[in-house]
Every structure is written in C-alpha cells, then in structure tokens.
C-alpha cells in the first residue's frame, strides 16, 4: 500500500473513531470498546475494499458486510456516515427514540446496513446465507463479516463455520476482532475460546493472522482470502479494545458504557491531536 493511501485511511479511521465517541457520548450508552477495536477493519472495508454505492445501497451486485457483533453499531454507523450513506451529524441522534440509528443494526432503517443483527452468532450465519445466494446466482460479490472474539462462545458460530466450509464458500471472509476482552473480563477467564485459529482450521477454513490496526496487514489478509479457492477465510485480527483512546484501551469496563462529558472531550482531544500529527 502506498504511503498516501495509508495516510488517508489512518485519517479516515481517526475521524470514524471521533464519530464513535460522539455517538456513544450523545446517547449516554452504547459500545465504544469493540467499536474502536474494529474501526480500522471497517475503515479499510468501506474505503478500500467493498464495492458499495451510497447512492444505491441496495444494489443486488454489491459486496456485503454483516456486523455479527451487532452491538458495535457506533463503529458501523460512523463508518457508513463518513462513507456517505447518511449525514455524519445524525450520529448525535444514536439510540434516541425518534432516530433511525437503532442500538443494534436494522437493515430496514439504516442505509448501508446489509443485515439486522444483535443476537450474537446469528450474523455469521446470515453471511453464510448471503454467500450461498452469491454462489447460486453465480454473482461476483463477496461477503464480509466481523465477529467478536467473545462471540465465538456462541455455538451458532461453529454451526455457521461448519456450513461455510461444507459449501466451500470462498466468497465469505470472517474477521475475528481478537481484542481478548468481553463484558465480564478476559475471554480466557470467562469462557476460553482458544485456540481460535486452530478451531477455524479444524472446521475447514483458511486462516490468516493479522494486526487489526495495520492497514498493510488488513490488506494482506483480504488479498490472502481472495486468493484461496474452495474455502472460506477467517482473518484473526489481533486488536486492542478501545484502540485510539488512552483510557479506554484494554479496559473491559468500556465494552458497553459511555464516556461522561469530560471523558468524551478528552477522547476527542486525543483523537484530534493524532489527526493533527498525521496531517
């Protein structure tokens, strides 16, 4: 990836992180930790990879993205807003009674959302269905999904994994946002899903390990997934929960709680400083 492209992605991701803080702080609730850890992946997908058109969000030939960890709507909405699917200003209406920006994704209300999710484990199965539809119709589109590492504790994820390998869905790529934390603490303490890569391999998937905050590595993962035929790919994306906001990093208490006004201002100031340093 050339330096200019990477710099642009870094700047976009930082703006998206600001949007995450704005949305969650405005709502007074929501999920900043996992939104921040997945922000670079979503940035890369929507600004570099996905063939999507904000003016024609239901194009049947578009690539699809399913946020299987549906609680990370601040990340998805901020990304979609900066990509032009709806006004960035609407992020301040997140989770409000008159807003279309539901706490969890709603495909009927939010332009650019490809699947309604929220109950963990279901999104990856829906992504399998979309990939099957693509194969049935001989369409070129690709399906991407983002799962939480805690989400891997849901049995349905492995039902979906089995089905995706069985039907040789090489048009399906699942990112695991491997930040190591879930609401109640460290994933290995709560209910150990390790070894994650070995599990996906055993289920018949191609597996690629990447750093979730390095755009070269995200690109390498996606290009690696595209190169493999006859298998779905799991990209195990090693990430930092709360990435980009110092006091949120690696702290599970930010999984599902909103910053207070002063905390939000500090977070925005940190992100602004980073943005200034980039430019």
């Amino acid at each position: 990836m050339d330096g200019k492209t990477k710099l642009e992605l870094q700047m976009t991701a930082t703006k998206i992180r600001k949007g995450i803080i704005t949305a969650v702080a405005s709502a007074g609730s929501g999920h900043p930790g996992g939104s921040l850890s997945g922000a670079d992946i979503m940035t890369y997908l929507y600004f570099k990879e996905l063939r999507v058109d904000p003016k024609n969000p239901k194009d049947p030939n578009r690539d699809r993205f399913v946020l299987s960890k549906g609680h990370c709507t601040p990340g998805l909405y901020s990304t979609l807003a900066y990509r032009g699917f709806f006004p960035v200003e609407d992020l301040t209406e997140f989770r409000q009674v008159d807003s279309y920006l539901e706490g969890h994704p709603n495909m009927d209300k939010v332009p650019g959302v490809d699947m309604s999710t929220g109950s963990l484990g279901q999104g990856i199965s829906a992504a399998v269905g979309m990939a099957l539809a693509g194969k049935l119709d001989s369409k070129e589109y690709r399906v991407f999904s983002l799962l939480g590492d805690g989400e891997l504790e849901e049995g349905q994820v492995w039902e979906a994994a089995m089905a995706a390998a069985h039907y040789k869905l090489d048009n399906l790529t699942a990112f695991v946002d491997y930040n190591g934390l879930q609401i109640d603490g460290n994933i290995t303490d709560v209910m150990n899903p390790e070894p994650i890569a070995d599990k996906f391999r055993a289920f018949g998937w191609n597996v690629i390990d990447i750093n979730a905050h390095d755009f070269d590595e995200i690109e390498k993962g996606i290009e690696g997934a595209k190169a493999v035929k006859g298998k779905p790919t799991a990209i195990i994306a090693h990430s930092v929960k709360g990435k980009g906001v110092s006091f949120m990093e690696n702290d599970p208490s930010w999984h599902g709680s909103a910053p207070k006004k002063e905390q939000a201002e500090q977070a925005i100031a940190e992100l602004d400083a980073y943005l200034a340093a980039l430019s």
């Binding site: 049947p60 999710t117 109950s119 279901q122 199965s125 829906a126 399998v128 979309m130 099957l132 049935l136």
Partner: protein, 312 residues
C-alpha cells in the same frame, strides 16, 4: 372415508410444483424425508440446501438468502422451528421482515410415538407473538397446496404449521383460499366451532353429532391464525352467540386466545376452548393420543352443550 394425505406431503408436493421459479430455495436440517422437502430436492437438487442438524443456523442462513432476494422455505419439525430456533426466527427473520417461509412439520400431538419432546403444542403462541409473522395452519392437503403457493407469492415471513398424520381431504380441488380469510364450511345458527389444522375435521364431525341432537353448529376453518379474520369471527359471534375453538395446541396462546382477543374487543359472547389443557404430550399412537388429550368430536360436543347453557 375419503382419501387421506398428510399436510406435510402436500407441502412437499406444492414446493415441487412451484419449484420452477428459480428464485425459490429450500433449506432443510437433515429431515428432508420427513418434512417431504425431498420431493422438491428430486426435481431441483441445486436449490435444496441441507444445513445438517443445525436448525438455529438454518433460520439465520435463510435470512441471509432472503436478504439477497431469495424466496426461502426453511423446513424442520415445528418443535425445533419454533422452539430451538425461536431467537433466530424472531431476530434474523421476523425483525427485518425477511421473505422466509418456515415449513414446520410434525406439529402437535399427532406426531405420535416420538412423544412430548417432539410434539409442538406452543408454536402458534410463539409465532403469532412475533410482529409481522403470518401464521398458517391448514386442515388438509388441498388447502395446504393452495396456501403454500399463496405464501410463496406474498412477501414477508410465514409460519406454516403442518402435520405428520395422514388426514382426510376436506376440500375440492380448485377451492379458493385467501391468506387471512377463514372459510365457513358448514353454516349453523346456535353455536360456532372455529377450528384450525387437523381439528377442522373433528369439528365437522362434532357438528354432525350436534345436528342429530337438534343443535345447529356453524364450522369455520380458520387456516390463517395471523393476520386473523376479524370479520368472520365477529359475524359468527353476533349470529350464533357462542363460540368454541378447536386446536391441536395448548389452549394458552393459540387459536383460542387469538379468537378470544377478537371476540372480547368486538362482540363478547360465551366461549370455550378445546385443545391440550396446559400439559406436555406423550408417546402413543396418534389416535390414542387424540382421545387421551380430548381432541375428539365427543369432547367438542360435550363442551358445546355445556356452553349453550351459558348462552343468553
């Protein structure tokens, strides 16, 4: 006795009949020989997808296919479709109002020998509580065929409640059916028997017995439980003044509850309910279970006569 065909068999035949539409995809969870989707599979193997023994996964996969424009029929036993996969049906299919038709076979106690774990007696209650879900419970093979085709033509989620047991064919071929519209299949003026599924034949038999005792009973086949046919129910309440519902389901939450909701709001009249009295089923021959759980014409007659005493 007329010809007997299970509604699941009619379902499989209907799928094979409409399967020429390349947009239709059928999913099954290792039960295609029982749900009869194998009839479709023989003609259109490329559009029959077996997901293995993973009903929850199947419902969310169905949602993904429907989100890409497919008309999906997802089949398994009613107990798994409505119970095990309830959250997937609610959140993956119901909430986004996706075009998935749930072909739920082996509903009710007439499953027989497999026993309580396999006898869905609460599925109508669960499914009709999901906003936007259409709930259909056909009485015979002819109505099943017609309603499956109508379900395929409409957009949105549908729960099709089907049976394992061979049941009499009640309707002439070419009878007109409409989703959301019940059928008065026998007129009467003293009382109305509103039945669904296999209980329609029991209600017809009960009406004959009541007639012998000088009681004129109207019989309505309410094949669609949601959206409910308010008009036919209110008319029956006003014209006959008493209603008995008949269903192969727990008396809580099913047809009886759905009809009551209409009656109390629009035309309150005395009612009673024939169904399974808030208990699990058990193993046994279907005919023995029908008697044990009181899903008989005799029980309907008994309750009808008692109800008439309460009628003003």
């Amino acid at each position: 006795m007329s010809q007997k065909i299970a509604t699941r068999t009619a379902y499989g035949a209907a799928l094979a009949e409409i399967g020429g539409n390349p947009n239709i995809v059928v999913l099954d969870a290792d039960l295609s020989k029982s749900t009869k989707t194998d009839t479709f599979k023989k003609k259109y193997p490329e559009r029959h997808i077996n997901v293995g023994i993973a009903e929850s996964n199947m419902m969310s996969i169905a949602a993904g296919l429907a989100a890409c424009g497919k008309t999906v029929f997802a089949s398994t036993f009613a107990i798994f479709a409505s119970g095990r996969a309830y959250d997937q049906v609610r959140n993956s299919i119901g909430y986004p109002h996706l075009n998935v038709k749930i072909g739920a076979t082996h509903a009710g106690i007439t499953v027989g020998e497999d026993g309580a774990s396999h006898q869905a007696l609460e599925d109508i209650a669960l499914m009709r509580a999901i906003p936007g879900m259409t709930v259909i419970s056909p009485a015979d093979a002819v109505s099943t065929g017609a309603l499956v085709k109508l379900a395929a033509e409409m957009v949105g989620p549908v729960y099709l409640r089907l049976g394992r047991l061979d049941v009499p064919v009640l309707y002439e071929e070419n009878t007109k059916f409409e989703i959301g519209k019940g059928l008065t299949i026998k007129d009467g003026k003293n009382i109305t028997l509103i039945a669904t599924g296999f209980m329609v034949q029991q209600a017809l038999e009960a009406a004959e017995r009541l007639k012998a005792e000088g009681i004129s009973a109207r019989v309505i086949d309410l094949h669609t439980i949601k959206p409910i046919d308010t008009e036919i129910i209110v008319k029956a309440a006003r014209e006959t003044g008493a209603i008995i519902t008949c269903e192969e389901h727990n008396i809580m939450g099913g047809l009886g509850s759905a009809v009551s909701e209409v009656v109390v709001r629009n035309a309150p009249v005395p009612m009673d309910f024939v169904g399974v009295e808030d208990q699990f089923g058990k193993s046994g021959k279907p005919q023995d279970l029908i008697v044990k759980y009181g899903l008989t014409p005799e029980k309907i007659v008994e309750k009808a006569k008692a109800l008439l005493k309460r009628k003003k």
